[in-house]
Symmetry: C2
Subunit: 434 residues, 2 copies
């Protein structure tokens, strides 16, 4: 090890672990900076609308935390999380059909940290994680940060396609690859917004069992349904093969950073050790605030309030898409935060983003959600944060950019052939707006 192996920008370059090479800024990351400018309508981020949470409810919880539980809330706690909160988490999970014991739960620093810890426990360099294609950006970042590869399975409007899962497993096994787990967001998936049907949940579990593959079920949005509840969690019928991840980030507030994992016994014991190594214990203060909130506020009523807020925003977005971009196709989510918009096949949403930002609207390019470069002609639109009026304005601006782009491409393809022609066309191109 010698500094000569470093470079001008980083004298410690040669000292990093191999895994650090895989740690790069996500495409979504740069967008947060852009989206924070007030004149931009951001349909890019995944920030919950925390202003729908009445201040008084939070105030009561924090005051009781300090007054009645100060000595405990300010102190180090258990690496597994507080027994009281874990008991309350059982009530939350019961709403999605999960029956577990208080010892089965491990509280983490948001469910993101549960995902990091599970990855640390399971992933060796060169291992494979199977994930939906597209999948949650920062899950892909975590898997890559432990030098694992991601193999995507196909999605349709009923969630991941079981036959594609079978095919992917067979292909990977043939290649001699080691599959460590299937990462899935069955309800109101990020970024597609689609929900895995009950029949498919059963089929996916069966495939996982047959192939000795662990299932990591990430469920941040399950309680935020609009019309009818999603099918029960996969963990509700399989406690030996599923690691379930939950969070208070969407039903309460992400600023507290409290999530949890439910895992088979031996895995859970290792999760606790990994949690202790990483943070000693999750925040006692945040846990106590949430315990007080859950015991004093009508938290189920508050979830209904969030559902009403997000339903109205989804409807605003769907209405605007129908009106502004009628020739394109998109998913129709029954819950959660996201719509997945598909552009004509020859369009590149990432290349188009600077023009969108110039038009004062932001989205997340589809490629961010794939480990393999797919998703070029798609984008994720979030309806969670902006008001319905801003959503409509955002889609109006987006339509100007998309229609402008389509008209340019049409004109260009009529006058001079593109070096690389699109392989197929989807839908009908709208008339030029320029």
């Amino acid at each position: 090890m010698d500094k000569a192996q470093g470079n001008n920008l980083d004298p410690w370059y040669s000292h990093y672990a191999e895994r650090t090479a895989g740690l790069s800024a996500s495409e979504v990351r740069a967008l947060f900076a852009v989206a924070s400018r007030p004149e931009v309508v951001s349909l890019a981020g995944g920030m919950p609308f925390v202003s729908a949470l009445p201040q008084e409810l939070v105030l009561t919880a924090v005051e009781r935390t300090v007054r009645d539980h100060g000595a405990v809330a300010l102190q180090y706690g258990s690496g597994q999380g507080s027994p009281r909160l874990r008991e309350q988490i059982l009530e939350v999970m019961a709403l999605e059909g999960i029956h577990a014991g208080v010892d089965d739960v491990v509280v983490t620093t948001g469910s993101q940290h549960a995902l990091e810890l599970v990855s640390k426990l399971f992933l060796d360099p060169g291992d494979v994680v199977i994930a939906e294609g597209p999948s949650y950006v920062t899950a892909l970042v975590v898997f890559r940060s432990f030098q694992a590869d991601v193999a995507h399975v196909e999605m349709d409007e009923l969630g991941l396609v079981p036959q594609s899962l079978r095919d992917t497993i067979a292909r990977l096994r043939e290649q001699g690859r080691t599959i460590k787990f299937l990462y899935t967001i069955p309800s109101f998936q990020n970024p597609m917004g689609v929900t895995l049907s009950w029949e498919r949940r059963m089929e996916v579990l069966e495939i996982a069992r047959e192939n000795d593959i662990l299932v990591v079920e990430d469920n941040p949005y399950g309680l935020l349904y609009f019309d009818q509840a999603p099918p029960q969690a996969m963990r509700s019928v399989d406690e030996d093969g599923v690691i379930y991840l939950g969070t208070f980030s969407k039903t309460l507030a992400p600023g507290l950073r409290v999530g949890w994992a439910v895992a088979p016994h031996a895995i859970r014991e290792k999760l606790i050790l990994a949690n202790e190594a990483a943070v000693l214990s999750p925040s006692s203060f945040a846990q106590t605030v949430i315990s007080e909130y859950l015991s004093t506020a009508d938290w189920k009523g508050q979830i209904n309030t969030f559902r009403d807020v997000y339903r109205e925003r989804r409807d605003a977005m769907l209405g605007a898409l129908n009106e502004q971009l009628p020739t394109l196709s998109w998913t129709v989510p029954n819950g959660g935060f996201y719509i997945w918009l598909t552009l004509p096949n020859n369009m590149d949403s990432k290349a188009m983003l600077p023009r969108a930002v110039k038009e004062l609207v932001a989205y997340t390019p589809g490629t961010a959600f794939f480990a393999d470069g797919n998703g070029r002609n798609a984008m994720r639109l979030s309806f969670c944060y902006p008001s319905p009026d801003f959503i409509r304005e955002g889609i109006r601006r987006l339509a100007i950019v998309i229609n402008g782009e389509m008209s340019l491409l049409t004109e260009f393809s009529q006058t001079a052939p593109l070096a690389v022609q699109p392989t197929r066309r989807e839908g009908v191109l709208p008339p030029s707006v320029g």
Copy 2:
């Protein structure tokens, strides 16, 4: 990968990453359970005495957080931490001679998480971390969890011995080992309580520079001095070769889980990415509470209060040791939480622990602080949490156990030789108390 490779207790046994084999429960961990029984005087843990923090100060901070900053405090934040808190952290660090910019700071979930992230960034399997011998238990756990080995350097009453550091580096280099960093707690070291002198700080930095070794300076206790301030932080004179770790856990409260790292530019950028992968962002709520506390409370006065509390407790422990165990030797800390007690060479503090717990006193056996089995005849005594009266009672109980043990060993060695004789004796054995 086949379930047949698993075992009865854990069907997923064969699926874990290799690093998970190194993740085991620390010796200190089991003690937390023991120490929590109210009848036991625990001199084992490292819990700060948070009751010395006036409730009103915390209440004001949390109320202002919810009332004036609710929408921000409840939301996701920056992966680097809030600019306001980072600005305030600069003021805290200035007290120890550190001059840095607001961009140099990365807020983490306690400084423990900074240590985890630094380890994730730098440690490949088989790498070596050099650490004081003894060193902080959960640092050793983290290094091992990334499959690194720990090489200890010798300590004396002025901190780590520079010549031992030189020798250790030379030996490791000869063996072809890759040294990634030196982990050190220069002020009021955990577990020894000793402080690295200014001359040695300069010498250690010089050795590190010569050998192209990064220094990780962990400084949780620096502001908690009793008589005079420790030498300035090593980071105060070397911004290119030092990653500095700080925390609010000891000067405010560990339950908030807020610490920070200051690192050279390129490393810091990677730390932010690793932080985002692990937790998306550190808790906005906890950060805002601390910002409000720092801007409304007399936080320097509060640190003085903590210093007074801990000084009185240290004095109580030193007095009781002088009175009850005059033939033994121990360190005399000028700050922090810990005293390191050395027993006669033929004694085993870990083997003695069950007898101590039976006598209703707990401590941490010395072996917990070594990666190589050393420390058998030593123990860490914490004076941070129990009141002076409890400390005196704890030492009285401990003296009964130690004196009983010594008398047994003396008697036994006079009547029948031990299978394994101690190689040397330190100090004079006291008369039997039984």
